[in-house]
Symmetry: C2
Subunit: 312 residues, 2 copies
Amino acid sequence: MNQRIFFNEVVTRDGFQIEPEFVPTDAKVQLVDALSQCGYAKIEVTSFTSPKAIPMLRDAEEVMGRIRRAPGVEYTVLVPNLRGAERAMESRADELNLVMSTSETHNLANLRMPREKSFAALSEVIRVVDGRTPVNVSLSTAFGCPMEGDVPQEVVLGWARRFADLGVRGLTICDTTGMAHPQQVARMCEEAQRRFPALQLTLHFHNTRGMGLANVLAAVRAGIVRFDGSLGGLGGCPYAPGASGNISSEDTVHMLQAMDHDTGIDLAKLLQLARALPEIVGHGVPGQVAKAGPSTQLHPAPAYVAELRAAA
Amino acid sequence: MNQRIFFNEVVTRDGFQIEPEFVPTDAKVQLVDALSQCGYAKIEVTSFTSPKAIPMLRDAEEVMGRIRRAPGVEYTVLVPNLRGAERAMESRADELNLVMSTSETHNLANLRMPREKSFAALSEVIRVVDGRTPVNVSLSTAFGCPMEGDVPQEVVLGWARRFADLGVRGLTICDTTGMAHPQQVARMCEEAQRRFPALQLTLHFHNTRGMGLANVLAAVRAGIVRFDGSLGGLGGCPYAPGASGNISSEDTVHMLQAMDHDTGIDLAKLLQLARALPEIVGHGVPGQVAKAGPSTQLHPAPAYVAELRAAA
């Protein structure tokens, strides 16, 4: 058996936040409850953003209040600022996931402030939370920015260092728009682990250009054991209409289980949920294994094969 | 610069043969001629199968007669039997690609004869061709059969040995229905190269379960430098409706170029052809980079970013 891998499911946050239609609160709660039975290490349930900024997740308190928490699963939430952190802690989130971009342009475009201002605001959140709830920081566009292009590894690891020095528990290194390639991923993972051996390091990949699982492979080979994934591969990229979004949780689990990694996840249950997802969101989703079936699922031979065999 | 990689484009054979609508001969010739300008090492143009068996490629002679051959590109064709080999050589094919399955059930289902009978027939082809045209043998279902399941590596390499002993120039190890995983690929590639150092070894992957580029990565890391790819990811799997088919040539080239491999291929030209493919076949195709654009293609920042920057 190879290295144990820990999965964080982000579909109800990263996936649902950009859906064109509001996913009803009941459906969100039911999906989180079903995901809780699949064996995830962590579920990113929702985002305590202003309802004006992300109307699709305006029911964050209600969802967090109604889900049935399974023992052993951490329920994390995205938090943009101090107000969000207070709401998240009132909702008894197990972890706060703060976010900023490592690209100045992407931070301005996405969070409407310079990176230094984001860092100051997030530092204040970390100071006020003061260890009462573990904090993870997601560093966006860590493998390239769709507007700036290359984001040097030293820039990414510089921001990582500043958060590490504030005492965060974990960092998620995010390929926000699917620009990473495996060689770049291997370099980043090796260096990040060397510099931050005590931090929980998670990798967040998108499959926008088909490289999602190749990047997972490169990261696993470099020693990474924590990954974000999104059921069905839901969650897109505004710059690539028609392209895939986040890596599909079930496709990633399927590959890693085939490679004899313990993922803790019940793939059959996960595939059931992935197959039900198009009905929840009202459109098809990119995940492949839910369509093709796992590679262990065999098909009957055509009837003439038995006749040919008998004749031989 | 990393290892040079050689691509064989199979869209007009592996892709078009299972299209529901016949692709007009003019369109086939134009596409092969355009592909000839992209920098491929090899193009699998068509199949000299009986028109009854594969009606979509019934124009094999005409296509081979009309294409404009570019210097440095090998034009290979699929050949199922002696009659096909004669037709292919009359058409001045640069290589004959013979095919059989390593799974008995798949060979019975696909070629309607036991493997031993296929081997005997292909041996006869190789004997008659007698080195006048180089021969490649494609071994199907080498990483698993959708009906039988596991195909042991020793079985695959046993068939490989028998063909190697007949003096073929190359072997293509085919993951016909997208069952391979990277660990299995690495093992197979290492062992095949150890046993057959003098043969041209090509890997043929499908992306049916999302693992296509991860498998390419594993093969490259194991030293493989030759790959089949299909423009747009065309070419499917009858067992997985809605699933992806062959790995997309342009997505694979995009990844390997990002990793600093010389592929010899003009990606911009290839993307133009990939974007024109849906019009030729009348439906969308799975390739991602044609939709998302290459990772080097940047997007303008929203207008408010400049204002925010000025205000900061």
